[in-house]
Protein backbone atom coordinates (compact mmCIF):
# COMPACT_ATOMS: atom_id res chain seq x y z
CA UNK A 1 0.00 0.00 0.00
CA UNK A 2 1.33 3.39 -0.97
CA UNK A 3 0.71 6.74 0.64
CA UNK A 4 -1.72 9.54 -0.16
CA UNK A 5 -5.46 9.84 0.06
CA UNK A 6 -5.97 7.53 -2.86
CA UNK A 7 -4.50 4.52 -1.13
CA UNK A 8 -6.47 4.03 2.00
CA UNK A 9 -4.98 6.90 3.96
CA UNK A 10 -7.24 9.37 5.77
CA UNK A 11 -9.37 11.61 3.57
CA UNK A 12 -8.62 14.61 5.73
CA UNK A 13 -5.07 15.48 6.66
CA UNK A 14 -3.15 18.01 8.68
CA UNK A 15 -4.79 20.46 11.06
CA UNK A 16 -8.34 19.63 9.92
CA UNK A 17 -7.78 15.98 10.82
CA UNK A 18 -6.54 16.94 14.26
CA UNK A 19 -9.54 19.21 14.83
CA UNK A 20 -11.90 16.34 13.98
CA UNK A 21 -10.05 13.92 16.23
CA UNK A 22 -10.19 16.40 19.12
CA UNK A 23 -13.86 17.15 18.51
CA UNK A 24 -14.60 13.44 18.67
CA UNK A 25 -12.58 13.20 21.86
CA UNK A 26 -14.61 15.96 23.52
CA UNK A 27 -17.87 14.36 22.38
CA UNK A 28 -16.66 11.04 23.78
CA UNK A 29 -15.80 12.46 27.19
CA UNK A 30 -19.09 11.45 28.86
CA UNK A 31 -18.52 7.85 27.75
CA UNK A 32 -14.88 7.81 28.81
CA UNK A 33 -15.62 9.48 32.13
CA UNK A 34 -18.52 7.31 33.19
CA UNK A 35 -16.74 4.06 32.42
CA UNK A 36 -13.59 5.20 34.21
CA UNK A 37 -15.64 6.30 37.21
CA UNK A 38 -17.15 2.84 37.46
CA UNK A 39 -13.89 0.93 37.10
CA UNK A 40 -11.81 3.24 39.32
CA UNK A 41 -14.49 3.35 42.01
CA UNK A 42 -14.39 -0.43 42.27
CA UNK A 43 -10.74 -0.09 43.39
CA UNK A 44 -11.23 2.96 45.59
CA UNK A 45 -12.53 3.84 49.02
CA UNK A 46 -14.98 6.39 47.60
CA UNK A 47 -16.80 7.26 44.38
CA UNK A 48 -14.13 8.51 41.96
CA UNK A 49 -16.46 10.90 40.24
CA UNK A 50 -13.97 13.47 38.96
CA UNK A 51 -10.23 13.84 38.37
CA UNK A 52 -9.68 15.81 41.60
CA UNK A 53 -11.33 13.35 43.97
CA UNK A 54 -8.67 12.08 46.39
CA UNK A 55 -9.01 8.36 46.78
CA UNK A 56 -7.04 5.49 48.22
CA UNK A 57 -6.41 2.34 46.15
CA UNK A 58 -7.99 -0.67 47.82
CA UNK A 59 -9.17 -4.17 47.02
CA UNK A 60 -11.64 -4.01 49.88
CA UNK A 61 -14.65 -3.52 47.58
CA UNK A 62 -13.79 -6.63 45.61
CA UNK A 63 -13.27 -8.62 48.81
CA UNK A 64 -16.61 -7.47 50.25
CA UNK A 65 -18.37 -8.13 46.96
CA UNK A 66 -16.93 -11.60 46.42
CA UNK A 67 -17.66 -12.52 50.03
CA UNK A 68 -21.21 -11.41 49.45
CA UNK A 69 -21.07 -8.67 52.09
CA UNK A 70 -22.78 -6.23 49.88
CA UNK A 71 -24.15 -3.87 52.43
CA UNK A 72 -21.41 -3.54 55.07
CA UNK A 73 -23.30 -0.79 56.88
CA UNK A 74 -26.38 -2.94 57.37
CA UNK A 75 -25.10 -4.30 60.71
CA UNK A 76 -24.19 -7.64 62.19
CA UNK A 77 -27.43 -9.48 61.53
CA UNK A 78 -26.72 -9.29 57.83
CA UNK A 79 -26.36 -12.63 56.01
CA UNK A 80 -23.81 -12.65 53.19
CA UNK A 81 -25.13 -13.40 49.73
CA UNK A 82 -23.84 -16.18 47.53
CA UNK A 83 -22.15 -14.15 44.77
CA UNK A 84 -20.66 -17.18 43.07
CA UNK A 85 -24.16 -18.45 42.54
CA UNK A 86 -25.22 -15.16 40.95
CA UNK A 87 -22.28 -15.40 38.57
CA UNK A 88 -23.09 -19.03 37.72
CA UNK A 89 -26.74 -18.12 37.17
CA UNK A 90 -25.74 -15.34 34.79
CA UNK A 91 -23.49 -17.75 32.89
CA UNK A 92 -26.23 -20.42 32.74
CA UNK A 93 -28.67 -17.99 31.19
CA UNK A 94 -26.05 -16.66 28.75
CA UNK A 95 -24.84 -20.15 27.76
CA UNK A 96 -28.37 -21.47 27.42
CA UNK A 97 -29.41 -18.58 25.20
CA UNK A 98 -26.35 -19.19 23.00
CA UNK A 99 -27.20 -22.87 22.53
CA UNK A 100 -30.86 -22.26 21.74
CA UNK A 101 -30.09 -19.46 19.30
CA UNK A 102 -27.49 -21.54 17.45
CA UNK A 103 -29.71 -24.63 17.33
CA UNK A 104 -32.64 -22.73 15.90
CA UNK A 105 -30.83 -20.35 13.57
CA UNK A 106 -28.14 -22.40 11.79
CA UNK A 107 -30.48 -24.80 10.02
CA UNK A 108 -33.03 -22.08 9.19
CA UNK A 109 -30.40 -19.74 7.81
CA UNK A 110 -29.13 -22.59 5.65
CA UNK A 111 -32.62 -23.27 4.34
CA UNK A 112 -33.19 -19.58 3.54
CA UNK A 113 -29.88 -19.42 1.73
CA UNK A 114 -30.14 -22.66 -0.24
CA UNK A 115 -33.70 -23.82 -0.67
CA UNK A 116 -36.79 -22.52 -2.34
CA UNK A 117 -40.01 -23.19 -0.53
CA UNK A 118 -43.50 -21.93 -0.07
CA UNK A 119 -43.58 -18.45 1.50
CA UNK A 120 -39.79 -18.13 1.60
CA UNK A 121 -39.69 -14.42 0.97
CA UNK A 122 -42.75 -13.85 3.14
CA UNK A 123 -41.06 -15.62 6.04
CA UNK A 124 -37.91 -13.57 5.65
CA UNK A 125 -39.91 -10.37 5.78
CA UNK A 126 -41.78 -11.69 8.79
CA UNK A 127 -38.47 -12.27 10.57
CA UNK A 128 -37.44 -8.66 10.02
CA UNK A 129 -40.78 -7.49 11.39
CA UNK A 130 -40.44 -9.79 14.39
CA UNK A 131 -37.00 -8.37 15.10
CA UNK A 132 -38.54 -4.94 15.44
CA UNK A 133 -41.61 -6.16 17.25
CA UNK A 134 -42.74 -4.33 20.40
CA UNK A 135 -41.11 -6.55 23.02
CA UNK A 136 -43.34 -5.14 25.71
CA UNK A 137 -46.44 -6.52 23.99
CA UNK A 138 -44.81 -9.93 23.75
CA UNK A 139 -43.65 -10.17 27.33
CA UNK A 140 -47.21 -9.85 28.66
CA UNK A 141 -48.34 -12.81 26.54
CA UNK A 142 -45.16 -14.78 27.20
CA UNK A 143 -45.62 -14.37 30.95
CA UNK A 144 -49.24 -15.50 30.68
CA UNK A 145 -47.98 -18.72 29.03
CA UNK A 146 -45.35 -19.05 31.75
CA UNK A 147 -47.92 -18.75 34.54
CA UNK A 148 -50.31 -21.10 32.81
CA UNK A 149 -47.72 -23.86 32.30
CA UNK A 150 -46.28 -23.32 35.76
CA UNK A 151 -49.42 -24.74 37.36
CA UNK A 152 -48.59 -28.10 35.78
CA UNK A 153 -45.01 -28.19 37.03
CA UNK A 154 -44.33 -29.96 40.36
CA UNK A 155 -43.01 -27.54 42.97
CA UNK A 156 -39.64 -29.28 43.21
CA UNK A 157 -38.94 -28.65 39.57
CA UNK A 158 -40.24 -25.13 39.31
CA UNK A 159 -36.77 -23.54 39.56
CA UNK A 160 -35.53 -25.61 36.61
CA UNK A 161 -38.67 -24.71 34.75
CA UNK A 162 -38.06 -21.00 35.35
CA UNK A 163 -34.51 -21.22 34.04
CA UNK A 164 -35.44 -23.22 30.96
CA UNK A 165 -38.32 -20.90 30.22
CA UNK A 166 -36.33 -17.72 30.61
CA UNK A 167 -33.55 -19.10 28.40
CA UNK A 168 -35.85 -20.13 25.55
CA UNK A 169 -37.97 -16.98 25.80
CA UNK A 170 -34.92 -14.72 25.76
CA UNK A 171 -33.28 -16.69 22.96
CA UNK A 172 -36.38 -16.31 20.80
CA UNK A 173 -35.88 -12.54 20.77
CA UNK A 174 -32.43 -13.01 19.19
CA UNK A 175 -33.41 -15.52 16.54
CA UNK A 176 -34.66 -13.26 13.73
CA UNK A 177 -31.44 -11.24 13.66
CA UNK A 178 -29.28 -14.35 14.06
CA UNK A 179 -30.90 -15.92 11.00
CA UNK A 180 -30.36 -12.82 8.89
CA UNK A 181 -26.72 -12.56 9.93
CA UNK A 182 -26.03 -16.25 9.29
CA UNK A 183 -27.84 -16.23 5.96
CA UNK A 184 -25.45 -13.50 4.85
CA UNK A 185 -22.51 -15.77 5.66
CA UNK A 186 -24.08 -18.83 3.98
CA UNK A 187 -24.74 -16.79 0.84
CA UNK A 188 -21.02 -16.24 0.41
CA UNK A 189 -20.15 -19.96 0.39
CA UNK A 190 -19.94 -21.42 -3.13
CA UNK A 191 -22.68 -23.91 -3.73
CA UNK A 192 -20.40 -26.35 -5.63
CA UNK A 193 -18.94 -27.62 -2.37
CA UNK A 194 -22.20 -29.02 -1.09
CA UNK A 195 -23.14 -30.20 -4.54
CA UNK A 196 -20.12 -32.50 -4.51
CA UNK A 197 -21.24 -33.99 -1.19
CA UNK A 198 -24.80 -34.46 -2.37
CA UNK A 199 -23.71 -36.06 -5.68
CA UNK A 200 -21.69 -38.52 -3.61
CA UNK A 201 -24.94 -39.58 -2.00
CA UNK A 202 -24.82 -37.44 1.14
CA UNK A 203 -27.96 -35.84 2.53
CA UNK A 204 -28.50 -32.09 2.81
CA UNK A 205 -27.76 -32.34 6.49
CA UNK A 206 -24.43 -34.07 5.83
CA UNK A 207 -23.59 -31.46 3.22
CA UNK A 208 -24.36 -28.70 5.69
CA UNK A 209 -22.29 -30.30 8.40
CA UNK A 210 -19.23 -31.35 6.45
CA UNK A 211 -19.00 -28.88 3.57
CA UNK A 212 -20.63 -25.64 4.68
CA UNK A 213 -20.31 -25.26 8.44
CA UNK A 214 -16.50 -25.22 8.46
CA UNK A 215 -16.62 -22.28 6.03
CA UNK A 216 -19.06 -20.17 8.03
CA UNK A 217 -17.25 -20.45 11.34
CA UNK A 218 -16.85 -16.65 11.62
CA UNK A 219 -20.59 -16.23 11.15
CA UNK A 220 -21.37 -18.84 13.76
CA UNK A 221 -18.87 -17.23 16.11
CA UNK A 222 -20.47 -13.83 15.58
CA UNK A 223 -23.98 -15.15 16.21
CA UNK A 224 -22.80 -17.12 19.25
CA UNK A 225 -21.12 -14.05 20.74
CA UNK A 226 -24.14 -11.83 20.15
CA UNK A 227 -26.41 -14.46 21.68
CA UNK A 228 -24.13 -14.95 24.67
CA UNK A 229 -23.97 -11.23 25.37
CA UNK A 230 -27.74 -10.91 24.95
CA UNK A 231 -28.26 -13.57 27.60
CA UNK A 232 -25.46 -12.18 29.74
CA UNK A 233 -26.77 -8.63 29.74
CA UNK A 234 -30.44 -9.42 30.19
CA UNK A 235 -32.13 -7.78 33.12
CA UNK A 236 -35.83 -7.62 32.28
CA UNK A 237 -36.53 -11.28 31.48
CA UNK A 238 -34.49 -12.55 34.41
CA UNK A 239 -36.19 -10.09 36.76
CA UNK A 240 -39.64 -11.10 35.57
CA UNK A 241 -39.27 -14.87 35.22
CA UNK A 242 -36.71 -16.11 37.74
CA UNK A 243 -37.75 -16.44 41.40
CA UNK A 244 -36.40 -13.53 43.54
CA UNK A 245 -33.74 -15.63 45.29
CA UNK A 246 -32.22 -16.83 41.99
CA UNK A 247 -30.41 -13.65 41.10
CA UNK A 248 -28.05 -12.91 38.24
CA UNK A 249 -25.48 -10.12 38.30
CA UNK A 250 -28.06 -7.87 36.61
CA UNK A 251 -30.85 -8.46 39.10
CA UNK A 252 -28.38 -8.31 41.97
CA UNK A 253 -27.23 -4.81 40.93
CA UNK A 254 -30.84 -3.87 40.32
CA UNK A 255 -31.83 -5.01 43.80
CA UNK A 256 -29.04 -2.94 45.35
CA UNK A 257 -30.20 0.31 43.80
CA UNK A 258 -33.94 -0.34 43.59
CA UNK A 259 -36.25 1.71 45.76
CA UNK A 260 -35.98 1.30 49.51
CA UNK A 261 -32.49 -0.21 49.65
CA UNK A 262 -30.31 2.86 49.23
CA UNK A 263 -29.72 3.48 52.92
CA UNK A 264 -27.73 0.27 53.22
CA UNK A 265 -26.09 0.20 49.81
CA UNK A 266 -22.38 0.89 49.67
CA UNK A 267 -21.81 2.24 46.18
CA UNK A 268 -18.12 1.28 45.72
CA UNK A 269 -19.05 -2.39 46.27
CA UNK A 270 -21.75 -2.12 43.62
CA UNK A 271 -19.06 -0.69 41.33
CA UNK A 272 -17.04 -3.89 41.81
CA UNK A 273 -20.11 -5.91 40.80
CA UNK A 274 -20.63 -3.70 37.76
CA UNK A 275 -16.99 -3.96 36.71
CA UNK A 276 -16.99 -7.75 37.00
CA UNK A 277 -20.22 -7.85 35.04
CA UNK A 278 -18.63 -5.73 32.29
CA UNK A 279 -15.53 -7.92 31.81
CA UNK A 280 -16.94 -10.36 29.20
CA UNK A 281 -18.18 -7.42 27.13
CA UNK A 282 -14.77 -5.77 27.20
CA UNK A 283 -12.97 -9.01 26.30
CA UNK A 284 -15.36 -9.54 23.43
CA UNK A 285 -14.70 -6.01 22.24
CA UNK A 286 -10.97 -6.34 22.25
CA UNK A 287 -10.95 -9.75 20.57
CA UNK A 288 -13.51 -9.28 17.81
CA UNK A 289 -13.42 -5.55 16.93
CA UNK A 290 -13.82 -5.77 13.17
CA UNK A 291 -16.04 -8.83 13.09
CA UNK A 292 -18.36 -7.00 15.47
CA UNK A 293 -18.62 -3.85 13.37
CA UNK A 294 -19.00 -5.74 10.10
CA UNK A 295 -21.63 -8.10 11.44
CA UNK A 296 -23.67 -5.29 12.89
CA UNK A 297 -23.87 -3.50 9.57
CA UNK A 298 -23.90 -6.64 7.39
CA UNK A 299 -26.87 -8.19 9.14
CA UNK A 300 -29.02 -5.37 7.85
CA UNK A 301 -27.80 -5.22 4.33
CA UNK A 302 -29.35 -8.65 3.80
Amino acid sequence: MGEGIGEGGPLVRGSMGIVIILALLIASLPIIMTYSTLILTSFANTIVSSPWVKFRFTLENWRLFLEGKLAPTAGVVYTPEDILRFIVNTAIVAGGVTLVVLAASVTSAYAFSRMNFFMRSGMMKLLILLHAFPGVALIVGVYAIYVFLNSYIPRDYSVYYSFIFVIIARASLEIPMAIWILKGFFDRVPWELEWATIVDGGSRLTALRTAVLPLVKPGIAAVAIFAFLAGWEDLIYVLVFLPPHEKTLATYIESQLGSGTLETTYLPVVAAAGTLYLIPTIIFFVVTQRLLLETMSGGLKG
Binding site: V12, T107, M115, I128, L138, A144, A169, L257, Y277, M296
Partner: protein, 313 residues
Protein backbone atom coordinates in the same frame (compact mmCIF):
# COMPACT_ATOMS: atom_id res chain seq x y z
CA UNK B 1 -42.15 -30.95 -4.76
CA UNK B 2 -43.67 -32.42 -1.61
CA UNK B 3 -40.34 -33.99 -0.68
CA UNK B 4 -38.59 -30.65 -1.11
CA UNK B 5 -41.20 -28.96 1.02
CA UNK B 6 -40.73 -31.53 3.74
CA UNK B 7 -36.99 -31.12 3.61
CA UNK B 8 -37.23 -27.34 4.02
CA UNK B 9 -39.72 -27.80 6.84
CA UNK B 10 -37.26 -30.08 8.62
CA UNK B 11 -34.60 -27.38 8.50
CA UNK B 12 -36.98 -24.62 9.51
CA UNK B 13 -38.79 -26.50 12.24
CA UNK B 14 -36.83 -25.31 15.32
CA UNK B 15 -37.23 -21.70 14.25
CA UNK B 16 -40.91 -22.12 13.43
CA UNK B 17 -41.68 -23.67 16.82
CA UNK B 18 -40.02 -20.78 18.65
CA UNK B 19 -41.64 -18.14 16.47
CA UNK B 20 -45.09 -19.63 17.04
CA UNK B 21 -44.57 -20.20 20.78
CA UNK B 22 -42.86 -16.91 21.61
CA UNK B 23 -44.15 -14.42 19.06
CA UNK B 24 -47.43 -15.46 17.50
CA UNK B 25 -49.09 -17.16 20.44
CA UNK B 26 -48.09 -14.41 22.95
CA UNK B 27 -49.37 -11.78 20.53
CA UNK B 28 -52.74 -13.48 20.27
CA UNK B 29 -52.79 -13.91 24.05
CA UNK B 30 -51.98 -10.24 24.63
CA UNK B 31 -54.83 -9.21 22.34
CA UNK B 32 -57.11 -11.69 24.17
CA UNK B 33 -56.04 -10.46 27.60
CA UNK B 34 -56.89 -6.91 26.59
CA UNK B 35 -60.57 -7.96 26.60
CA UNK B 36 -60.40 -9.63 30.04
CA UNK B 37 -60.21 -8.21 33.57
CA UNK B 38 -56.95 -10.10 34.24
CA UNK B 39 -55.14 -8.83 37.36
CA UNK B 40 -52.31 -10.36 39.39
CA UNK B 41 -51.84 -13.01 36.69
CA UNK B 42 -54.81 -15.08 37.82
CA UNK B 43 -54.86 -16.71 34.40
CA UNK B 44 -56.86 -19.75 35.45
CA UNK B 45 -59.78 -17.76 36.87
CA UNK B 46 -59.95 -14.68 34.74
CA UNK B 47 -58.82 -15.60 31.27
CA UNK B 48 -62.34 -16.58 30.17
CA UNK B 49 -64.06 -13.54 31.70
CA UNK B 50 -64.86 -10.98 29.07
CA UNK B 51 -65.30 -7.32 29.76
CA UNK B 52 -65.59 -6.22 26.16
CA UNK B 53 -63.91 -2.93 25.47
CA UNK B 54 -63.74 -1.85 29.12
CA UNK B 55 -59.94 -1.71 29.19
CA UNK B 56 -59.86 0.39 26.07
CA UNK B 57 -62.52 2.70 27.45
CA UNK B 58 -60.50 3.08 30.65
CA UNK B 59 -57.46 3.88 28.58
CA UNK B 60 -59.43 6.58 26.83
CA UNK B 61 -60.61 8.09 30.11
CA UNK B 62 -57.12 7.97 31.54
CA UNK B 63 -55.81 9.74 28.46
CA UNK B 64 -58.42 12.42 28.93
CA UNK B 65 -58.45 13.00 32.66
CA UNK B 66 -55.50 11.46 34.47
CA UNK B 67 -52.67 13.95 35.12
CA UNK B 68 -50.06 11.21 35.56
CA UNK B 69 -51.04 9.57 32.32
CA UNK B 70 -50.81 12.95 30.63
CA UNK B 71 -47.22 13.13 31.82
CA UNK B 72 -46.60 9.69 30.32
CA UNK B 73 -47.99 10.73 26.95
CA UNK B 74 -46.02 13.99 26.95
CA UNK B 75 -42.88 12.15 27.95
CA UNK B 76 -43.39 9.61 25.16
CA UNK B 77 -43.72 12.38 22.60
CA UNK B 78 -40.71 14.37 23.83
CA UNK B 79 -38.57 11.27 24.33
CA UNK B 80 -39.25 9.81 20.90
CA UNK B 81 -38.84 13.12 19.03
CA UNK B 82 -35.60 14.27 20.60
CA UNK B 83 -33.92 10.89 20.91
CA UNK B 84 -34.78 10.18 17.29
CA UNK B 85 -33.14 13.45 16.31
CA UNK B 86 -29.97 12.60 18.25
CA UNK B 87 -29.89 9.06 16.86
CA UNK B 88 -30.15 10.10 13.23
CA UNK B 89 -28.24 13.38 13.14
CA UNK B 90 -25.70 12.32 15.77
CA UNK B 91 -25.20 9.01 13.99
CA UNK B 92 -24.63 10.81 10.70
CA UNK B 93 -22.13 13.25 12.22
CA UNK B 94 -20.23 10.44 13.93
CA UNK B 95 -20.15 8.40 10.74
CA UNK B 96 -18.86 11.34 8.67
CA UNK B 97 -16.18 12.29 11.17
CA UNK B 98 -14.93 8.74 11.66
CA UNK B 99 -14.98 8.20 7.90
CA UNK B 100 -12.74 11.18 7.27
CA UNK B 101 -9.96 10.42 9.74
CA UNK B 102 -7.19 7.85 9.94
CA UNK B 103 -8.55 4.29 9.97
CA UNK B 104 -6.95 3.14 13.22
CA UNK B 105 -8.20 6.13 15.20
CA UNK B 106 -11.57 5.81 13.49
CA UNK B 107 -11.86 2.17 14.57
CA UNK B 108 -11.10 3.11 18.17
CA UNK B 109 -13.78 5.79 18.17
CA UNK B 110 -16.38 3.60 16.52
CA UNK B 111 -15.77 0.86 19.07
CA UNK B 112 -15.96 3.40 21.90
CA UNK B 113 -19.33 4.63 20.68
CA UNK B 114 -20.55 1.08 20.23
CA UNK B 115 -19.68 0.27 23.83
CA UNK B 116 -22.91 1.69 25.37
CA UNK B 117 -24.99 -0.53 23.06
CA UNK B 118 -23.11 -3.67 24.12
CA UNK B 119 -22.84 -2.82 27.81
CA UNK B 120 -25.15 -4.81 30.08
CA UNK B 121 -28.24 -2.78 30.89
CA UNK B 122 -27.64 -2.86 34.64
CA UNK B 123 -24.07 -1.58 34.22
CA UNK B 124 -25.09 1.15 31.81
CA UNK B 125 -27.74 2.27 34.29
CA UNK B 126 -25.13 2.20 37.03
CA UNK B 127 -22.82 4.50 35.03
CA UNK B 128 -25.51 7.15 34.83
CA UNK B 129 -26.58 6.52 38.39
CA UNK B 130 -23.12 7.65 39.50
CA UNK B 131 -23.09 10.47 36.96
CA UNK B 132 -26.41 12.07 37.98
CA UNK B 133 -26.18 11.03 41.64
CA UNK B 134 -27.84 13.68 43.81
CA UNK B 135 -25.11 13.87 46.45
CA UNK B 136 -21.85 15.83 46.16
CA UNK B 137 -20.10 12.61 45.01
CA UNK B 138 -22.13 12.46 41.79
CA UNK B 139 -19.94 13.21 38.78
CA UNK B 140 -22.03 16.07 37.41
CA UNK B 141 -22.44 17.68 40.84
CA UNK B 142 -18.78 17.23 41.58
CA UNK B 143 -17.75 19.02 38.38
CA UNK B 144 -20.22 21.86 38.70
CA UNK B 145 -19.41 22.39 42.39
CA UNK B 146 -15.72 22.58 41.55
CA UNK B 147 -16.38 25.07 38.75
CA UNK B 148 -18.59 27.12 41.05
CA UNK B 149 -21.66 26.84 38.83
CA UNK B 150 -23.75 25.47 41.69
CA UNK B 151 -23.36 25.95 45.45
CA UNK B 152 -24.94 22.74 46.61
CA UNK B 153 -25.53 19.35 45.02
CA UNK B 154 -28.57 19.06 42.78
CA UNK B 155 -30.87 16.04 42.48
CA UNK B 156 -30.84 16.27 38.72
CA UNK B 157 -33.66 14.04 37.59
CA UNK B 158 -36.04 14.39 40.51
CA UNK B 159 -35.84 17.98 41.83
CA UNK B 160 -39.40 19.34 41.30
CA UNK B 161 -38.01 22.79 40.50
CA UNK B 162 -36.44 21.50 37.30
CA UNK B 163 -39.09 19.03 36.19
CA UNK B 164 -40.02 18.01 33.61
CA UNK B 165 -37.10 19.29 31.53
CA UNK B 166 -34.28 17.82 33.59
CA UNK B 167 -35.80 14.35 33.60
CA UNK B 168 -36.50 14.55 29.89
CA UNK B 169 -32.97 15.73 29.18
CA UNK B 170 -31.54 12.79 31.11
CA UNK B 171 -33.65 10.09 29.44
CA UNK B 172 -32.98 11.53 26.00
CA UNK B 173 -29.25 11.82 26.66
CA UNK B 174 -28.82 8.34 28.13
CA UNK B 175 -30.89 6.64 25.41
CA UNK B 176 -29.27 8.77 22.72
CA UNK B 177 -25.86 7.43 23.69
CA UNK B 178 -27.13 3.91 23.11
CA UNK B 179 -29.09 4.64 19.95
CA UNK B 180 -26.62 6.85 18.11
CA UNK B 181 -24.27 3.97 17.32
CA UNK B 182 -26.87 2.30 15.12
CA UNK B 183 -26.96 5.19 12.65
CA UNK B 184 -23.19 5.53 12.91
CA UNK B 185 -22.63 1.93 11.82
CA UNK B 186 -25.17 1.95 9.00
CA UNK B 187 -23.98 5.29 7.58
CA UNK B 188 -20.32 4.44 7.99
CA UNK B 189 -20.64 1.17 6.11
CA UNK B 190 -22.58 3.01 3.38
CA UNK B 191 -19.74 5.55 3.09
CA UNK B 192 -17.29 2.70 2.74
CA UNK B 193 -19.21 1.54 -0.33
CA UNK B 194 -18.73 4.87 -2.09
CA UNK B 195 -15.95 4.47 -4.67
CA UNK B 196 -12.94 6.31 -3.29
CA UNK B 197 -12.09 7.62 -6.76
CA UNK B 198 -15.19 9.78 -6.58
CA UNK B 199 -13.96 11.56 -3.49
CA UNK B 200 -10.37 11.73 -4.68
CA UNK B 201 -11.52 13.25 -7.96
CA UNK B 202 -13.49 15.89 -6.06
CA UNK B 203 -10.46 16.51 -3.88
CA UNK B 204 -8.22 16.92 -6.89
CA UNK B 205 -10.71 19.42 -8.30
CA UNK B 206 -10.20 21.42 -5.13
CA UNK B 207 -13.38 20.55 -3.21
CA UNK B 208 -13.20 21.47 0.44
CA UNK B 209 -14.02 18.93 3.14
CA UNK B 210 -17.35 20.58 3.81
CA UNK B 211 -18.25 20.38 0.12
CA UNK B 212 -17.33 16.71 -0.02
CA UNK B 213 -19.64 16.09 2.93
CA UNK B 214 -22.49 18.12 1.51
CA UNK B 215 -22.36 17.12 -2.10
CA UNK B 216 -21.08 13.55 -1.96
CA UNK B 217 -21.41 11.88 1.43
CA UNK B 218 -24.85 13.02 2.57
CA UNK B 219 -26.62 12.59 -0.80
CA UNK B 220 -25.16 9.09 -1.07
CA UNK B 221 -26.86 7.96 2.13
CA UNK B 222 -30.28 9.54 1.55
CA UNK B 223 -32.06 6.21 1.64
CA UNK B 224 -30.08 5.07 4.63
CA UNK B 225 -31.17 8.20 6.49
CA UNK B 226 -34.82 7.45 5.77
CA UNK B 227 -34.36 3.83 6.79
CA UNK B 228 -32.54 4.65 10.03
CA UNK B 229 -35.17 7.26 10.89
CA UNK B 230 -38.12 4.92 10.49
CA UNK B 231 -36.36 1.99 12.11
CA UNK B 232 -35.23 4.03 15.10
CA UNK B 233 -38.67 5.58 15.41
CA UNK B 234 -40.11 2.09 15.69
CA UNK B 235 -37.49 1.05 18.18
CA UNK B 236 -37.90 4.18 20.35
CA UNK B 237 -41.68 3.90 20.54
CA UNK B 238 -41.37 0.38 21.86
CA UNK B 239 -38.18 0.49 23.94
CA UNK B 240 -38.48 0.62 27.70
CA UNK B 241 -35.57 -1.26 29.27
CA UNK B 242 -33.17 1.65 29.86
CA UNK B 243 -35.99 3.85 31.09
CA UNK B 244 -37.09 1.10 33.45
CA UNK B 245 -33.72 1.14 35.18
CA UNK B 246 -33.53 4.94 35.38
CA UNK B 247 -37.01 5.18 36.90
CA UNK B 248 -36.58 2.18 39.18
CA UNK B 249 -33.38 3.64 40.64
CA UNK B 250 -34.91 7.11 40.97
CA UNK B 251 -32.37 8.67 38.64
CA UNK B 252 -35.36 10.43 37.09
CA UNK B 253 -38.87 11.31 38.18
CA UNK B 254 -41.30 8.42 37.89
CA UNK B 255 -43.87 9.96 35.54
CA UNK B 256 -41.58 12.24 33.58
CA UNK B 257 -39.31 9.27 32.96
CA UNK B 258 -42.04 6.86 31.87
CA UNK B 259 -43.06 6.37 28.25
CA UNK B 260 -46.07 4.41 27.07
CA UNK B 261 -44.02 1.23 26.56
CA UNK B 262 -42.61 1.40 30.09
CA UNK B 263 -46.08 2.22 31.37
CA UNK B 264 -47.36 -1.03 29.84
CA UNK B 265 -44.52 -3.00 31.41
CA UNK B 266 -44.89 -1.48 34.89
CA UNK B 267 -48.67 -1.77 34.83
CA UNK B 268 -48.45 -5.46 33.96
CA UNK B 269 -45.60 -6.49 36.24
CA UNK B 270 -44.96 -4.02 39.05
CA UNK B 271 -47.36 -1.20 39.94
CA UNK B 272 -50.96 -2.30 39.91
CA UNK B 273 -50.47 -5.62 38.13
CA UNK B 274 -53.48 -4.99 35.95
CA UNK B 275 -52.65 -7.09 32.91
CA UNK B 276 -55.95 -6.57 31.12
CA UNK B 277 -55.42 -2.85 31.06
CA UNK B 278 -51.70 -3.14 30.23
CA UNK B 279 -52.54 -5.46 27.34
CA UNK B 280 -54.96 -2.91 25.90
CA UNK B 281 -52.21 -0.27 25.90
CA UNK B 282 -49.83 -2.86 24.42
CA UNK B 283 -52.24 -3.55 21.57
CA UNK B 284 -52.21 0.16 20.71
CA UNK B 285 -48.40 0.01 20.63
CA UNK B 286 -48.47 -3.07 18.41
CA UNK B 287 -50.76 -1.33 15.94
CA UNK B 288 -48.45 1.70 15.74
CA UNK B 289 -45.41 -0.59 15.54
CA UNK B 290 -46.84 -2.78 12.77
CA UNK B 291 -47.69 0.21 10.61
CA UNK B 292 -44.18 1.60 11.01
CA UNK B 293 -42.67 -1.82 10.39
CA UNK B 294 -44.57 -2.23 7.13
CA UNK B 295 -43.51 1.26 6.08
CA UNK B 296 -39.90 0.25 6.72
CA UNK B 297 -40.23 -2.85 4.57
CA UNK B 298 -41.59 -0.70 1.77
CA UNK B 299 -38.76 1.79 2.07
CA UNK B 300 -36.11 -0.89 2.12
CA UNK B 301 -37.63 -2.57 -0.92
CA UNK B 302 -37.07 -5.86 0.76
CA UNK B 303 -38.47 -7.94 -2.04
CA UNK B 304 -35.58 -6.82 -4.22
CA UNK B 305 -33.08 -7.53 -1.49
CA UNK B 306 -34.16 -11.11 -1.00
CA UNK B 307 -32.12 -12.84 -3.67
CA UNK B 308 -33.31 -16.20 -4.97
CA UNK B 309 -31.70 -19.16 -3.22
CA UNK B 310 -28.74 -20.91 -4.75
CA UNK B 311 -28.49 -24.65 -4.78
CA UNK B 312 -32.15 -25.45 -4.82
CA UNK B 313 -32.56 -29.02 -6.05
Amino acid sequence: MARRGRQALFFLLPMLILVVAFYILPLILTAWISFTPLTNWRVRDQLDDFVGLENYVNLYYLARYDPDFHKVLQTTLVFVTFTLFINVVGGLVLAILTYLIDERISLAYRLLWLLPRMTPLAVFGLLWYYFFYGGPQGTLNSFLLKLGVIDEPVRWGTDPAMLPYSAWAIIVFVNGLVGVSYGMIIFYSAFKNIPRELIIAARVDGARTWEVIRHILVPMVRWHIVFVTVWQLLSLITSYTHLFVLVQWSVVDKWYGTTLALYVFNTAFFDVKNQGFAAAAAVILVIIGSILGLVTLRIMRFSQMISPPRGDI
